[in-house]
Amino acid sequence: MNGMSKIVRTMARLLYPFVLAFGAYIVMHGHLTPGGGFQGGAVIASGLAMMVVAFGRRSEKHVREGVLSVIEDFGALAFLGLAFLGIGTTFFYNLIANSGWLFGSSVSYGSNPGYLNTGGTLPYMNWAVGLKVLAGLGSIVVLMAFVFGEDEDEDTA
């Protein structure tokens, strides 16, 4: 798969950090605003897809499949580990909520502007699922884009 013109590549390179920042924002504020791990991970994966479409085979140094599979493993295992954290009560029990740890402060009842340092295990799980989804969808995109071997690129370049 070949890259696209210089205009497209420049715009993609410019937009890439903003797409990543927006996806990270959606993941990070999953316990306050609409969105969460799945949605933010999909946004970041669409940023990876944009880079793959714009740069073609040259994006392989940015988007590497081995790194993505390591990230996906880490996300899945972190999600399971956070679920097992509360197994003293039940599986998926929210142990950190209202405990005073990081993300553990309690929230007042009723409407309030929303505070980032709340939610207990929810922000951690959002990050775990977000990493898992961005790596999973990203590795699907990379696998589908680069399914043909190296020699194909040399012929058409």
């Binding site: 996906e72 599986f91 402060s105 929230v107 929810l122 959002n126 989804v133 071997g149």
Partner: protein
């Protein structure tokens, strides 16, 4: 025979749809609200999350999210099995 069976199942489908839609409750007035009321009343107290949907997805029904993540993992495994780069 085949046509008659298809027509028969279509009649059954339409009849049960009409019968079901006859007894739909009014819009915005669900019959059972115990679960919704519990989530709305307690998600801020128990989970300390303003977003009740995330509280349901990651806390009250976290097991369902685990299943979703497993489905995504299986999809990635399937794509990687079919489309992995051929050596040589």
């Amino acid at each position: 025979m085949k046509k008659g069976l298809g027509f028969f199942s279509l009649v059954i489908l339409i009849a049960s749809m009409i019968g079901g839609f006859m007894q739909v409750h009014d819009f915005g007035k669900p019959l059972r609200t115990e679960m919704d009321d519990y989530f709305i009343a307690n998600s801020q107290v128990e989970v300390a999350a303003n977003n009740a949907v995330t509280a349901v997805v990651f806390d009250y029904r976290g097991f369902d999210t685990l299943g979703e993540a497993t489905v995504l993992f299986a999809a990635v495994i399937g794509v990687a099995t079919v489309l992995r780069r051929m050596k040589g």
